[in-house]
């Protein structure tokens, strides 16, 4: 137990010191995970909405598939992206392996299904509630999608935050495709793994506490934005 307190103290010292290495690592973590969340949202949102509203053959299979992909093990995604980006793989010529871009691709694949699945559920629920109304007003499908996405924006935000949580917390994929290279692809989670394997358990835990603080900060700001938006409407 005393080790956990010492780690807390160490975390405070690390934050207070504003250690440039730590700042670099935190900056890269945020850049990679936020970009991945962004890409996953840009792709997952329309896909989820489309699956919710349109009826086409094979739709149930697609719904089950997207839901199942939410549980993709990060290390498997890492391996697949590694094999694709490796020099011996189909996209090897782009020389993306062991770069932040490779890490973004892996995380976007990892969280795309989360955003798509939660969007589908949200939009489908809303459609069951308002579908008849919208149809009776003669609203076209494109307009209906926009209305429903806007109506469900707060639930969708939770989905996006869940995606960010998974991205910023995973280590299996970024370790394989990023390689944990110092000053190039080292992020919070790979640093925690490295310090743990050096036996520096307190520093590792201190980094974990800082990661938690960052997650708290991002979720708090999302909550605040939501709150302001609610008030503005009511």
């Amino acid at each position: 137990m005393s080790e956990i307190w010492r780690a807390l103290g160490k975390a405070m010292v690390l934050i207070a010191d504003f250690d440039p290495d730590l700042v670099e690592i935190i900056g890269l973590s945020l850049r990679v995970s936020l970009t991945a969340v962004f890409i996953a949202t840009v792709i997952g949102l329309p896909v989820g909405a489309a699956v919710a509203l349109f009826r086409f053959p094979g739709r149930p299979v697609l719904v089950v598939l997207i839901n199942a992909l939410m549980g993709l093990p990060p290390v498997v995604v890492g391996l697949i992206v590694y094999l694709l980006l490796s020099r011996a793989g189909p996209f090897g010529v782009f020389n993306l392996l062991y770069t932040p871009t490779a890490m973004i691709i892996a995380q976007a694949i990892l969280i795309g299904p989360i955003v798509a699945a939660l969007t589908r559920q949200t939009v489908e629920d809303l459609w069951q509630e308002y579908g008849e109304q919208l149809t009776s007003f003669g609203v076209g499908p494109g307009r209906a999608v926009r209305t429903l996405l806007w109506d469900g924006r707060f639930s969708l935000l939770t989905g996006v935050l869940a995606g960010f949580g998974r991205a910023s917390a995973e280590v299996g994929a970024v370790m394989i495709v990023g390689g944990n290279i110092d000053h190039l692809t080292r992020v919070m989670t790979t640093s925690i793994t490295l310090e743990t394997s050096k036996g520096n358990l307190e520093i590792a835990l201190a980094l974990g506490i800082i990661l938690l603080i960052i997650a708290l900060g991002i979720n708090a700001s999302a909550y605040a934005i939501r709150d302001v938006a609610y008030r503005a409407e009511s």
Partner: protein, 279 residues
Amino acid sequence: MTLASLLRTGLAALLLTATLVSPGTAQERSVRMLSTTSTENSGLFSYLLPIFESKTGIRVHVVAVGTGQALRAARNGDADVLMVHDKASELKFIADGHGIDRREVMYNDFVIVGPREDPAKIGGNKDVIRALQMIKKSGAAFVSRGDDSGTHKAERRLWRAAGIEPEGRSNPWYREAGSGMGATLNIAAGMNAYTLTDRGTWLSFRNRRSLSVLVEGNPLLFNQYGIMLVNPARHPHVKVAEGRALIEWITSPEGQRAIGAFTINGQQLFMPNYRGGGS
């Protein structure tokens, strides 16, 4: 905001972030080296490579994985230089045409660490083969790397030499961690078990709990590190000039001296032993 304008903004932001994250250091010379967790965890590279970098202006990006994974990635052409410690696999790597210019750089040694209570009574025993037999006989827990790394291969050779096949369900005392050296030491420390580790990782390891070195100083525990260039004939993108510069420097008198000067708590971790030539 309509969906269309949302998408437009999104696309613009996507392009912006893409330019932000693309490595803007194209003019910087760099070389990528695949190496092992034992060298990275010992802190050798963070001491050694800045010297090379300030001298040549070439940045070295180290990807530290187990020797097995390192050899595999190097075969795929995912690095310029390979530095590992399993001579048999290295020579096969060269013979198969995946690498060129292999040089022996340095060595350290393996040690058997275990709990202070030492249930198998192997402490101070220089005969590592006998020690392994005593561990098996006592049934005390032994944690293996189990990850096909250089250290794991060395450990398996020692068990074979002791006439023991430790893998399998019939040996509950033998636990394969499937992890890097540091992670394996954490497991051994947590369950008061024996394990084989390279001395470098052990000396820099901070979570020893009740573990201490029990068996050391046997020629069978010798651990040679080799460095080589990934074959540019097979992988034309390999940075030959930068890779050769690194190999030349690390085997130069200056590089060798720097390796010898690396200590933790006054203890030297690696003994430079480049004797000229290459294979």
